[in-house]
């Protein structure tokens, strides 16, 4: 492990940074001979740029970021890979109390939104404003998918803006936002402060859908294969530890510290179970899931329609590197899947028909043009 024994990894203050925090605090990095410095970052653009330029060796990243970087969406193209997933699920959509007070307790939230959007339009009032954490995020695609499924056009019927997760609660309180889709603990924090109510969880749209990955540049992975494998083993073991409910009290205390998430322990503690850090092969980076993310980028006009979805998905999401690490641990290899299911609406996504799938939605940029 030539000069790479000392690594700097970035994370954004969220519950799902847990594998990095646990690997550091519980000695999983040290056990692999790695000296790791964790760098707390406050924006995804900074995480991306720092990894791209080598200021960070790797980072906790939104699952679509390595894909967006590789195809040059939102910036210069920089080949990145995702050799493991850090978690599945955990994101949620919180609606402001200012809205939910006009909804009957048993009224399905999306139907209530459809009703209130129509009322607003009839009265000539401004559109609802919902925030996501980054343009290239599961949060953006989840919220859009969920709204569109209910007949709400995310580009025309509401406004979707970008805001930092840690500021969602205060902007909800100030009335600048009517809702937001972000990772935990920020939904739990808003609920616990009486500002909003969770209207949808990631698992309501897609059971065990992707959320965060470990992102490194393709060049770094080629240059430091031994360090990468050591890093994967440490993070996989840390993920297994973080996933065990018996460790959640200790994990919540750890995450709540000012150098990590810096939020109320109780909010972190109660929102931990919505995230899967390990079970059912949660850490396998699956190209078929990556292709679904690319299909949504294409659907909403973020990626060119002639993009080779399978090619990009297989270049970025690397089960081969993951399999090498789990083989050392005696864990099961990643399944080879050409389809993805688990969607609440019963659809099955096929890797070979990804482009047709992207164009198949009634609402989306491809359908309109």
């Amino acid at each position: 492990m030539s000069g790479a024994a000392g690594l700097t990894l970035g994370f954004v203050p969220l519950n799902d940074a847990a594998p990095l925090v646990v690997a550091k605090e519980r000695g999983f990095f040290a056990a692999e001979g790695l000296q790791v410095r964790l760098s707390r970052e406050v924006s995804w653009a900074t995480v991306r740029d720092k990894v791209a330029t080598g200021a960070l060796d790797g980072a906790h990243m939104l699952a679509p970021i390595p894909l967006a970087c590789t195809v040059g969406a939102g910036g210069d193209a920089q080949p990145m890979i995702a050799p493991m997933a850090l978690n599945r699920s955990g994101a949620a959509f919180t609606l402001s109390r200012r809205l939910t007070v006009y909804m009957a307790p048993d009224e399905p939230r999306r139907e209530a939104l459809v009703r209130m959007i129509a009322e607003r339009r009839a009265q000539g009032e401004p559109q609802f404003v919902f925030a996501v954490v980054f343009s290239y995020s599961m949060h953006n695609y989840l919220l859009r998918y969920w709204l569109a499924e209910g007949g709400i056009d995310p580009d025309h019927d509401v406004r979707i803006v970008v805001a930092p997760p840690s500021r969602m609660a205060s902007r909800l309180a100030a009335g600048e936002l009517d809702g937001f889709c972000a990772g935990e603990p920020w939904n739990a924090v808003s609920e616990d402060e009486g500002l909003g109510e969770v209207a949808m969880r990631a698992s309501d749209v897609w059971r065990d859908g992707p959320e965060k990955v470990l992102g490194v540049t393709a060049a770094w992975a080629r240059r430091e294969p031994a360090a990468l494998q050591a890093l994967l083993r440490a993070l996989l073991k840390a993920g297994a530890w973080a996933d065990d409910p018996r460790n959640h009290a200790e994990l919540a205390d750890m995450l709540a510290r000012p150098e990590y998430v810096d939020a109320a322990v109780s909010s972190i503690r109660r929102s931990l179970p919505t995230t899967n850090f390990h079970r059912d092969g949660a850490n396998a980076p699956l190209p078929a899931q990556a292709a679904w993310l690319l299909s949504q980028m294409m659907r909403w006009g973020q990626a060119p329609r002639e993009l080779d979805l399978r090619g990009v998905a297989e270049y970025v999401y690397r089960p081969d590197l993951y399999n090498q690490a789990v083989a050392e641990l005696g864990w099961a290899a990643a399944p080879v899947l050409d389809t993805v299911d688990g969607f609440a609406d019963g659809t099955v996504f096929r890797l070979d028909e990804a482009r047709a799938y992207a164009a198949s939605f009634a609402l989306g940029r491809l359908a309109r043009s």
Partner: protein
Amino acid sequence: MRVLVVDPDPARAALVVEGLAGVQPLEVRQAPVFDEHEAASFGPDVVVVAADSPDRDTLESLQDASVVNPRPVVMFVDRSEPGLAEAAVRAGVAAYIVDGLAPARVRDILEVAMSRFHLMHQLRQDLEKAKADLASRKTVERAKALLMKERGLEEEQAYKLLRKLSMDTGRPLGAVAADLLAFAGVLKGDAG
């Protein structure tokens, strides 16, 4: 020049004002956090923000080609962030300034960022227009082929007919061709 400095520390805005001394007219506004409505009403020519600001993701989302009024964004990085400065310039929508903000360099940096931004914006618009032109040319080709097949015309005659339709109706050639194809589709649908 209108400059919006997004920084909780007013010292940064003071540096910008100092560096832009002599620029007329000049309005520098400082905001602790980025607020879209405030920014829209102010209408800055350029936005200055620290690279480690939580507002970066919001600002970046406003750089999308789909946004009506994108603004150039200048980011500064302190020496304590080695490597990041190596990025120097990203995608032409933002310039990284190395070594924090030094008043002596502010004016040059802001001007370079703005001209680069407008150049990139122009290139992007040109690209969109080129794509649209290409699509329109393809439409004209297909309309020509349709006329040749249905009316037994030579290529030259088909093109002249399209051009005449365009001049008679005062509409672009591509639009006339698109109408023709659409009507042909409807007629075929009726017949079938």
